[in-house]
């Protein structure tokens, strides 16, 4: 039996290669993501191994506010000079250095622009000497308040050299320093990854980075000769008590490296997303291939049944094929995954200035490759295998190999599964994202089953478009021949198109709602805001506000300060508005209770959705450690674009950056917008991150960010489409093979080569356009469900992305044409003679 199975496997090489390719792609992404994480992880380990060399024990404090990654950026905890003194007194401590290190030191480069990173921190801190692997390469250490040193990679990126005057933005507005030295890191590194470092003298670092002198973010301890770091660590733990974190140097280094590895998670998730889509679509492809193979071999299978093969043996023979394909695809996928992982590691390393520690093949990649490859293939082959076992022995004697089975069972189960999926989506939107994803997948499977029922009418409608020519008509008829096969081939394409249409519908609706709300509710002319950069928000000098108000034509300036905080014990956002009454006008806010006058320093105005009421007392734990309470003096009706708690000016002193990050500027009716904008830009010359934009430009800039997100989704779709194309090629190649005789006949009665190719192309296009149309319908359904589910979040109406939908439909047709190329050529080459004498 096994030999027979393997023989028949070899006889169907091409088809198996095509379906194996889908598994291969999936496996490639899964193992590629493991290889990438592994090699970058080891690179990070190497990079930070020496960052704490010479440091035996390190002390940090619990942060004032503790937020998880989902809730905001991490906030460093603060130590004081008293803590430093206490550490120094502890037995076993030879030396203790107070370190200052906080994100948000932005260097203005020689070109007047702020040196950007794509996310990693831009640290500002104090120069503590050549410790922790830092090595002064050029110049001297900073010794005066106006002196700084920077790491070599940053100096290069900024285009600055020793002796230059350099502008630096911190929690304070721009200040100019003299660059007195440039440093690197042990191992001849110019930077530790993409992180940049600006180091000041201690008091300046404390003031600029932490807001106050006498504060540290960590204390590095060198133990006295012979003292065990672990013992010293424990001694420090007892001495300092609660609220402190004491680690040995190696523990801390590992913690830092693991922090960076977490950042890699995003890449991992993207790759695993690719893998998921590839495998999900791949299942359709494999399922189809095996169904076709089983259908074609009905006679052969029936014959073996007649000769005494058991049902178990029938199932076994199909599964053995699946295992062989799965194994081969896994091996090749693993190899390809290694390549992809290595390539991405190289790219990532050169892009982020990480020195690659070498690419390895982690065991996890191997295990996951085989697990995924085998499991997916076997799952996809099980249904056809069971069908194979049900072939009655008498089928061997019947002329018609595969009678057209009714679609009722398929349609009913498809409808039920679709309903379950829709239910999960509806429930999941409100409750649980994963439940929603499960619903989406279930719905896909349901629609795929339903699509067999839809195929016939859909194909006949679609086909009318092509029926003007004889090849077109023949192609249409061919695609209507086997609705199951057409349906499952189209379903593969449906998945990708549905996903992207759904996301597009949500994004378009959200954008339209936002733009609608802005047009309706926003009545100011200009917005001053920072270019979206990760980490701390870009800010500008608050002392400019009075001068901004004096710009001719400006009637009001309403500036906002903001920072993270714990509000009544929960992570939240504190913002302060310098002219709330102006904001009330600009955003057409209406009072619900109390007054909307400017809140006093210890007062707060809340929106009606906040759960707070007039006169409530709200306690706030600010990010820099300050703890305060505020009384609610007003409640306003939350608008579509303006909401949240607006605190009195007293909240500013609790913020890490006591600078405004945004301002709304109202102009008088007859003001010259261009002139006002010029004057404002001139005032903001020392804040190169800030932009002055009108509402449309501001929204366009925001849209550009969502556009990037959409692009990523479309890349995902591209992969799904690639696999769908394989499926279409597979189905068509098979149709051509099965119909050799017919093709020969058609050629014999005068069908030209081009016409033959056109016929196959139409057949492909009908399938892919059907898939695309189905995808559009499902996608619109998904998108609409989500938009309706998010109605509370301000998504007022469902706006369909018609333009994109049109593009996807055309794309569907184009995909059909591409998929048809090879099968069409093969069909056109049909040798008339061979075809008619073919047995």
């Amino acid at each position: 039996m096994l030999r027979a199975t393997l023989k028949s496997l070899l006889a169907r090489k091409l088809r198996l290669i095509l379906s194996g390719l889908a598994v291969l792609l999936g496996v490639m992404f899964v193992s590629g993501s493991f290889v990438l994480t592994d090699s970058l992880g080891r690179s990070f380990d190497n990079m930070f191994a020496n960052s704490l060399s010479g440091t035996d024990v390190i002390v940090t404090a619990d942060p004032a506010i503790n937020v998880s990654e989902m809730e905001g950026e991490p906030v460093p905890g603060m130590l004081t000079s008293a803590d430093l003194a206490a550490v120094r007194e502890t037995t076993g401590v030879a030396q203790a250095i107070g370190d200052v290190q906080a994100d948000g030191a932005r260097v203005i480069g020689a070109n007047g622009k702020v040196v950007a990173t794509f996310g990693p921190p831009r640290f500002g801190g104090n120069w503590t000497g050549e410790v922790g692997g830092r090595e002064l390469r050029e110049g001297v250490a900073p010794s005066a308040a106006n002196e700084i040193v920077v790491n070599a990679a940053l100096a290069k990126k900024a285009g600055i050299k020793v002796g230059d005057q350099v502008g630096v933005l911190t929690t304070q507005p721009k200040q100019t320093f003299k660059l007195v030295g440039i440093f690197g890191y042990e191992g001849r590194l110019d930077s530790r990854g993409p992180v940049t470092e600006v180091l000041f003298t201690e008091p300046v670092a404390q003031k600029l980075m932490l807001g106050k002198e006498g504060k540290f973010t960590s204390i590095s301890v060198t133990t006295a000769g012979g003292s065990d770091p672990v013992a010293v660590r424990d001694a420090l733990k007892t001495k300092l008590g609660k609220g402190y974190v004491v680690q040995t140097g190696s523990e801390a280094a590992a913690a830092i490296a693991s922090g960076f590895k977490e950042a890699l998670d995003v890449f991992n998730k993207i790759l695993l997303g690719f893998a998921g889509v590839a495998l999900f679509v791949g299942i359709f492809l494999i399922l189809n291939t095996f169904s076709i193979i089983v259908a074609q071999r009905t006679k052969e299978l029936a014959l073996s049944r007649a000769l005494g093969a058991s049902r178990g043996q029938m199932i076994g023979s199909v599964l053995v094929e699946a295992v062989v394909i799965g194994l081969i695809a896994s091996v090749l996928g693993l190899a390809a995954g290694y390549g992809v992982g290595a390539l991405l590691s190289q790219l990532f390393a050169s892009f982020s200035e990480v020195q690659l520690a070498g690419v390895g093949l982690p065991l996890a990649a191997v295990i996951s490759a085989f697990a995924v490859g085998l499991i997916v293939t076997i799952i996809a082959a099980i249904m056809p295998a069971i069908r194979a076992s049900r072939v009655p022995p008498v089928a061997a004697l019947q002329e018609v190999a595969t009678p057209d089975r009714p679609l009722t069972k398929l349609t009913v189960s498809g409808a039920i599964i679709t309903a379950i999926g829709s239910g999960l989506i509806a429930f999941g939107i409100a409750e649980n994202v994963w439940l929603m994803f499960a619903g989406v997948l279930t719905a896909f499977i349901g629609v795929a089953l339903l699509s067999a029922f839809l195929a016939r009418p859909a194909v006949s409608v679609l086909g009318r478009v092509f029926s003007w020519s004889v090849p077109g008509k023949l192609g249409r008829l061919n695609s209507g021949r086997n609705p199951r096969r057409t349906a499952i081939t189209a379903a593969a394409l449906m998945v990708g198109i549905a996903l992207v249409t759904g996301v597009n519908t949500i994004v378009t609706s959200a954008e339209k709602s936002l733009r609608g709300s802005v047009a309706e509710e926003f009545h100011a002319e200009l917005i001053v805001s920072g270019q979206g950069s990760p980490g701390l928000q870009p800010t500008f000098d608050g002392t400019l506000l009075p001068r901004m108000k004096q710009v001719p034509g400006v009637t009001a300036v309403s500036a906002e300060y903001g920072d993270q905080a714990m509000i009544d014990g929960k992570p939240g956002w504190v913002s302060v508005n310098t002219d709330f009454p102006a904001a009330v006008k600009m955003f057409s806010l209406s009072p619900v209770a109390g007054s909307l006058a400017q809140p006093g320093p210890d007062e707060v105005i809340v929106d009606d959705d906040s759960g707070h009421h007039l006169s409530d007392v709200i306690s706030v734990q600010h990010a820099n450690g300050l703890q305060k309470t505020y009384t609610v003096t007003g409640v306003y009706k939350q608008g579509e674009i303006y909401g949240g708690m607006v605190f009195g000016s007293g909240a500013i002193e609790g913020m890490r950056q006591q600078l405004p990050s945004m301002a709304f500027v109202d102009l008088s009716d007859n003001a010259n917008e261009a002139a006002a904008r010029k004057s404002l830009e001139a005032l903001l010359v020392d804040s190169p991150e800030m932009l002055v934009q009108n509402a449309d430009e501001y929204l366009d800039a925001q849209s550009a960010e969502t556009a990037q997100f959409l692009l990523m989704i479309q890349v995902l779709l591209g992969l799904a489409i690639l696999i769908a194309v394989l499926g279409v090629v597979n189905t068509l190649a098979l149709s051509v093979l099965e119909r050799t005789r017919e093709l020969g006949l058609l050629r014999a009665i005068g069908l030209g080569r081009m016409a033959t190719m056109r016929m196959i192309t139409v057949e492909a296009m009908v399938i892919t356009v059907f898939g695309a149309a189905l995808g559009l319908a499902v996608g619109v359904g998904l998108g609409t469900a989500v938009v309706r589910g998010l109605a509370d979040e301000g998504l007022k109406e469902v706006v369909l992305p018609w333009e994109q939908m049109g593009i996807y439909l055309v794309l569907g047709a184009v995909v059909g044409v591409i998929a048809a190329i090879l099968p069409a050529i093969r069909a056109a080459r049909t040798n008339v003679l061979a075809a008619i004498s073919y047995e």
Binding site: V470, L474, L477, N478, G480, R481, R741, E742, L745, L746, R747, A748, I749, G750, L751, G752, R753, A755, V832, L833, I836, S837
Partner: protein, 245 residues
Amino acid sequence: MTMTPAARAVEVWKVYGTGEAQVQALRGVSAEFERGKYTAIMGPSGSGKSTLMHCLAGLDTVNAGTVYIGETQVTGLGDAGLTKLRREKVGFIFQQFNLLPTLTAAENITLPLAIAGRQPDKAWYDTVILTVGLGDRLHHRPSELSGGQQQRVACARALVSRPEVIFADEPTGNLDSRSGTDVLNFLRDSVRQHGQTIVMVTHDPNAASYADRVVFLADGEIVDEILSPTADSVLDRMKKLDRNA
């Protein structure tokens, strides 16, 4: 000026394979097929009947010699030329699998015209349809027709574009004798009444007796021919050939 024959082979050689396995399927065959005549080709199995027909129809290439359909030299034509030839000058009837399963009988009949982008001549179409005698089954798919009905549809399809010559390779080979008779009558009528030229390969002396002339092949050569054959005269000649072989 004498009328050119509908199809003509001049010193045609066809060799399959090389070396040891070489088979000379046709060894310098020359033959003419007169217009408006019904010719049967007979001979023992493997004598080269199908090969000759395929070469005449431009379905296969020849190693040497020339083939003409009407005025057109078939040998040497490219794919486009051959396609044009098949559209305009040649009709085919095969032993089986003559029809597209997705089209109705009527659609199958007009398919060659549709492919060529020509309108059927209404009067001629009606005549052909009448002769097929399918009646209301004309709008059924091939799978709903009997084997004999299917073959008659194939004949009608070959006739409807009025080709210079129709080639039929054992058109009755798969039919019972009654259905076979129907088809043979149909073919003879189209020759007698409408001046169609038909070349038919057959094994059946009775089928050959419907023809105007029978050509005998043996070992890739034309060895004999009979005009106005009867089943008995054909059978007689066949027996002689078999004895020689």
